[in-house]
């Protein structure tokens, strides 16, 4: 067997190993990106979903309730950025992030039980991206 062939076989084995590694990584860490309208449009499907979900939404002013028992957490409602007519209730276990506020865009990771989205991760978008949608005037 020539050296070239040996190297070719070695490279193929490594490439297949990398593909396998990526496949396994995607299997354990993949999350479907959903919006409020997706969940409300097909709640039974998302209630049965096995893999986790990432919900991108905007915090609405309808519900914000804090609790300290049995663990620190709070409930709040979110809606799609472009459709404020329909809200979904989110239950988050953990301390409120400093940058969390009504009207702020958030990313939530968790699962849906048919009524409430149970979030295990709550991330608010970085303020460096903040930019008014138009040249708003303070007048």
């Amino acid at each position: 067997m020539s050296n070239g062939l040996r190297i070719g076989i070695a490279v193929c084995v490594i490439v297949f190993a990398i593909i396998g590694l990526m496949y396994r990584g995607v299997q354990i860490a993949s999350q479907e990106v959903v919006m409020v309208s997706d969940i409300l449009g097909n709640p039974s499907y998302y209630a049965k979903a096995r893999s986790g979900m990432r919900l991108g939404a905007r915090v609405s002013d309808k519900v914000i309730e804090y609790r300290n028992e049995p663990s620190i957490g709070f409930k709040f409602s979110v809606h799609d950025p472009l459709d404020i007519s329909r809200d979904i209730l989110v239950d988050y276990s953990g301390v409120k992030p400093n940058t969390f506020a009504i009207g702020r865009d958030v990313l939530l990771e968790g699962s849906f039980d048919g009524n409430v989205f149970h979030a295990t991760v709550l991330l608010t978008q970085c303020p460096s991206k903040y930019r008014a949608s138009s040249d708003e005037s303070p007048l």
Binding site: N3, V11, I14, I18, L21, M22, R24, G25, V26, I28, A29, S30, Q31, E32, V33, R54, G56, I64, Y66, N68, I72, F74, G94, V95, K96, P97, N98, T99, A101, L107, E109, L123, T124, Q125, C126, P127, S128, K129, Y130, R131, A132, S134, D135, E136, S137, P138, L139
Partner: protein
């Protein structure tokens, strides 16, 4: 009044730079296809004046921030009267418009540095460098001028007396330098790309342009790594989540060019020393800048969801066209010269150093692929499936770990196999890289997080430490209210080790919005960081987890404080490794030997 007139010149300067860079592209093309020296010289001069114009535009924008000229919408949105002068300057790149102008300016400086020099390039290479330099600068100028101009006026020509202010968490010393350092890195990466393309088109396979572009690659590596480490430090200190890296698309976009630049620096060394790795060097020379522009596209177009993204905007489409043009020019040029890019030394004659550099290239390529696939997973899944999927940190931790282990081994091994030739800077940067990789892995694996409430006088055991909440005070300071928790850090034997004062700050942002930030407190030792953040408070008679409502509460009324605490082992070693890496790269960049290029016969006379 004079200031107003002169500031408007910023917009004029931006327009002028745009026109001049377009002209330089056109004149460079004419010079390239017809060998016309008059057009070459005018293209070069146009690029130099375009750079000067952008410098003027940048200075005017900075001046408009210093003088609080809120007639500009961008200044009004990102600055305020009470900001310190240095934060007003950093507000220049605090939003998308100013950051695009900053990027254009630094890119033009990099291109101008090369075209103003008489050395390093053959005349044919110089022509194509000028042409493609003009094209690259034109795209950045067009995007800034048409889609993200910071010189747009307020609607109705109204001039407010106060701005909305820079977000409090961006008011940090690290943010003074983090963005411009990254832009400087990306701009420096454009030079190896332009060198490679120019050399391919003109058929120059000598080592001179490789040496020159390696210097730019090293500078880019220094700027990018310094920018990334400052960003990571800011994230750790300012965001209150106790982490330094979240595998966010924006973060990955800065890591991919840095990794590929590292590959270029190493393969380029083999090319310049024995004439091997020519194809690899050209590929690695072009990829970092292509990846930098691709990163800008995916983060600024909104196509990939990010915590940092600058939101969906029109510039994504133009950036995508720019990316396609860059990659098309690269692929066509590479295939055009593929057969002539043969190595002078056959691979079965390689020494151990060449093999190590080859494996290094392979490992970095594999890292790029797995990180890139994760970053663009939403796009891939949308194309292949009916739904959009993302992958989180679990994916990256799993798929990158084997490659980082090999990289650690290679970076540790390289100085040993080639001991005599290595300089202090190379040693420092290699050891720094190994320290970073090892201690990032250890701190991630063994980091523990704790969220709990403490009443005044109560204690909590965290690892080998005991925390005791002594008292809470509500302070009114210039520009913000602060809730300060006095926390004693003790050993289990009740021996006082440190007193920490983590704060919650409530900034009143113009006109009526509150921004809450955590000022975290850290007890640092060589073994671990005890990272303490105040997450909320409870006041007697009220359940007040929302810390924004503490303004005006009397000091004696605080009942409990909610803390978020992280115990991170060996965190300080990550920063030590980072400093060693950056200082090492700076040392290498300052090595006089790097700049001893012989002037080429037939170089262009300007």
């Amino acid at each position: 009044m004079n200031i107003y007139v002169s500031i408007d010149a910023g917009h004029v300067a931006l327009v002028l730079s745009c026109l001049l860079s377009l002209y330089a592209s056109f004149a460079g093309c004419i010079a390239g296809f017809f060998g016309n020296k008059v057009f070459l010289h005018s293209a070069r001069n146009a690029l130099l004046v375009a750079s000067l114009s952008l410098a003027i535009a940048f200075v005017f924008l900075s001046a408009s921030f210093l003088f609080n000229l809120y007639k500009y919408s961008y200044v009004w949105q990102t600055s305020s009267n009470d900001l310190a002068w240095f934060y007003r300057l950093s507000a220049v790149w605090g939003g998308m418009d100013g950051s695009m102008l900053c990027w254009c300016f630094i890119l033009s400086v990099a291109i101008a540095c090369v075209v103003s020099s008489k050395r390093f390039l053959l005349e044919s290479e110089f022509i194509w460098f000028t042409c493609f330099g003009g094209i690259t600068l034109s795209f950045s100028n067009i995007i800034t001028l048409l889609f993200a101009s910071p010189f747009r006026l307020m609607a109705g020509e109204f001039v407010p007396v106060e701005g909305k202010g820079l977000n409090p968490i961006l008011q940090h010393p690290a943010m003074l330098l983090h963005p411009p350092l990254l832009y400087a890195g990306y701009a420096a990466l454009s030079v190896p790309y332009l060198y490679c393309i120019s050399a391919l088109i003109s058929g120059d396979f000598s080592t001179k342009w490789v040496n020159a572009s390696r210097v730019w690659g090293l500078c880019a590596c220094g700027f990018l790594s310094a920018g990334i480490f400052l960003g990571a430090y800011w994230s750790y200190i300012e965001l209150g989540w106790g982490g330094i890296w979240a595998w966010d698309p924006v973060e990955n976009s800065s890591l991919l060019p840095l990794l590929s630049c590292l590959a270029f620096i190493h393969t380029g060394r083999i090319y310049s020393s024995i004439g091997s790795f020519k194809r690899l060097t050209v590929i690695w020379g072009c990829l970092p800048y292509i990846l930098a522009v691709f990163g800008m596209y995916i983060t600024r177009s909104g196509i990939v969801q990010s915590l940092h993204a600058f939101g969906q905007s029109e510039i994504g489409e133009v950036l995508f066209i720019h990316f396609i043009i860059l990659i098309t020019i690269f692929i066509i040029s590479l295939f055009y010269r593929w057969n002539k890019l043969k190595s002078d030394v056959l691979w079965d004659k390689w020494r151990s150093v060449e093999w190590i550099f080859f494996i290094l290239s392979f490992v970095i390529a594999a890292l790029l692929v797995v990180i890139l696939v994760g970053t663009i997973m939403p796009i891939l899944s949308k194309l292949m499936l009916s739904s959009v999927h993302v992958v989180g940190a679990k994916y990256y931790n799993l798929v990158t770990t084997p490659f980082f282990i090999v990289l650690i081994a290679l970076f540790a091994f390289l100085p040993i196999v080639n001991l005599r030739k290595w300089r202090v800077g190379v040693w420092l940067s290699h050891i720094g890289f190994v320290i970073i990789a090892i201690f990032v892995a250890i701190s991630c694996i063994y980091k523990s997080s704790h969220e709990f409430e403490l009443s005044i006088g109560a204690r909590k055991e965290i690892g080998v430490y005991v925390l005791k909440l002594e008292n809470v005070t509500n302070l009114k300071r210039n520009g913000h209210d602060a809730l300060v928790a006095n926390v004693s850090v003790m050993s289990k034997d009740n021996e006082l080790i440190d007193i920490l004062t983590p704060e919650l700050r409530i900034y009143r942002v113009y006109p009526d919005r509150d921004e809450i930030t955590s000022e975290i407190a850290i007890h640092t030792s060589l073994l671990a960081d005890l990272y303490v953040a105040v997450a909320g408070v409870e006041v007697t008679g009220r359940n007040m987890t929302d810390a924004g409502n503490v303004v005006g509460v009397r000091n004696g009324d605080f009942e409990k404080v909610i803390f978020r605490v992280y115990l991170t082992p060996y965190q300080i070693w990550v920063w030590i490794g980072g400093v060693m890496f950056v200082v090492g790269v700076v040392f290498v960049c300052l090595t006089p030997k790097l700049y001893r290029f012989q002037k080429l016969s037939g170089t262009v006379e300007l």
